[in-house]
């Protein structure tokens, strides 16, 4: 059994490297994106193998799904050159390749040599989980022990989405061709299901794999589908409304931080209510993540209104 595990891991890890290489050798951009998405899914599979189901979910949703959708949307806008232009001259490629290979070799040797001396915070994290307000260790880390990181990270998302939102191109317009009847039917049925699963993801994140990031990615999937659907109502939203939506997560997080100051420290939850605080922050972040990623999708596709001075 152990042997079978080893064979599987060996094949998968080799497949990952090969697939990564193939992705960057593709002749056309579209093939490269499709390969990248498949590659992302395989990475997610490998993460299940090394006991990181939270991350596998996120990688499948964000690393493969959202990134792929963004790249495909951008590709459509960039006008689909059939093939990539010829690569850089060998005088540049060769030293870079050799340097990178040397780095890879060095890191591999060091990892093999030092593999057997693990160090980490596993024990400390697990010892503090009862006080954290979340039974899921990853959620406890990102929304309690290291919530300052997550606060700034939501800030990253906000700043990036805002920049994309401001950068509206002149080739704005309505999304693509009219959707077919099957897509319309699919969208009508899927919308409530998407919402249900999103809410469930946030809720379950307190105990099991799931949480704001996965749920937000899912929500942005719904957002992208809606934009492609018969009535892309998010496109007609006023810019002020969109700005509020983008800000919701970061703003709530900051408000919580400021409010919790009463307890003597930044981002210290009162112990009995930690769970509630985490849930409030997660819900706000989920909505903002969903909206941000949807805005990014529309921005990459070039669908945002041309005039940044449009009525607010």
């Amino acid at each position: 059994m152990l042997y079978a595990d080893f064979i599987f891991d060996l094949i998968l890890s080799i497949a990952l490297v090969v697939l990564g290489m193939i992705t960057l050798q593709q002749k056309t951009p579209r093939e490269a994106v499709v390969q990248l998405m498949i590659f992302g899914l395989l990475v997610a599979l490998s993460w299940i193998r090394i006991d990181a189901p939270d991350l596998a979910l996120t990688e499948a949703a964000i690393g493969s799904g959202v990134t792929g959708a963004l790249l495909l949307a951008a590709l459509r806008r960039l006008g689909l050159q059939q093939t990539f232009p010829p690569p850089a001259p060998a005088a540049i490629r060769l030293p870079v390749t050799l340097g990178c290979a040397a780095l890879g070799l060095l890191l591999s040797l060091i990892l093999i040599q030092s593999w057997d001396e693990p160090a980490g915070l596993t024990d400390i994290v697990y010892a503090h989980i009862p006080q954290s307000g979340s039974a899921n260790p990853v959620t406890a880390v990102i929304l309690n022990f290291r919530s300052f990181d997550t606060l700034l990270e939501i800030g990253v998302l906000l700043v990036a989405a805002l920049s994309v939102y401001t950068l509206s191109g002149p080739a704005a317009g309505t999304p693509v061709r009219p959707p077919g009847p099957i897509f319309i039917l699919y969208l009508r049925w899927m919308t409530p299901i998407f919402w249900l699963v999103t809410l469930y993801m946030v809720w379950i994140g307190g105990r099991a794999p799931g949480g704001a990031f996965q749920a937000g990615a899912l929500l942005s999937g719904l957002g992208a589908l809606t934009l492609l659907g018969p009535s892309p109502w998010p496109m007609r939203l006023r810019r002020r409304v969109v700005r509020w939506g983008l800000t919701l997560g970061f703003g709530m997080f900051l408000l919580a931080a400021a409010w919790l100051w009463r307890y003597g420290n930044l981002l210290t939850y009162p112990q009995d209510h930690a769970k509630t605080w985490i849930l409030i922050i997660e819900v706000a972040c989920t909505l903002s993540i969903g909206i941000s990623l949807t805005v990014m999708f529309a921005g990459c596709a070039g669908w945002l209104h041309e005039d940044p001075e449009a009525v607010t």
Binding site: G20, L24, D51, P87, G120, A161, V164, L293, M296
Partner: protein, 100 residues
């Protein structure tokens, strides 16, 4: 000799994937391809970190790197979206302007 643990294999895969991605970013000139390469590099780095979190053979994996990667993924997707939007903007403005 005992078999090397699965996590080590994935860690090595992570190293090589990030190196391949890095090479793509440095050696390619076409922006779309560089963005795809950067994403491959990101996946490699994250894979290495997840594998390192699983170094202890028994017990649960270390949740701190998991949190780090969750953050890193969001940063990567944000940067990707921003770069694609910039690229698209440049493309849309290309008409009638010198591309230098």
């Amino acid at each position: 000799m005992s078999l090397p643990p699965g996590a080590l294999l994935y860690a090595l895969a992570g190293v090589w994937i990030s190196v391949i991605g890095l090479r793509g970013v440095l050696a390619e000139e076409e922006w779309f391809r560089r963005i795809v390469s950067a994403n491959v590099m990101g996946s490699g780095v994250f894979l290495l970190l997840v594998a390192l979190a699983r170094r202890a053979p028994d017990g649960p994996p270390d949740p701190v790197p998991h949190g780090m990667i969750l953050t890193g993924l969001v940063v990567a997707v944000s940067a990707t979206a921003l770069m694609l939007a910039l690229l698209g903007f440049l493309h849309d403005q290309q008409d009638g302007e010198d591309d230098t």
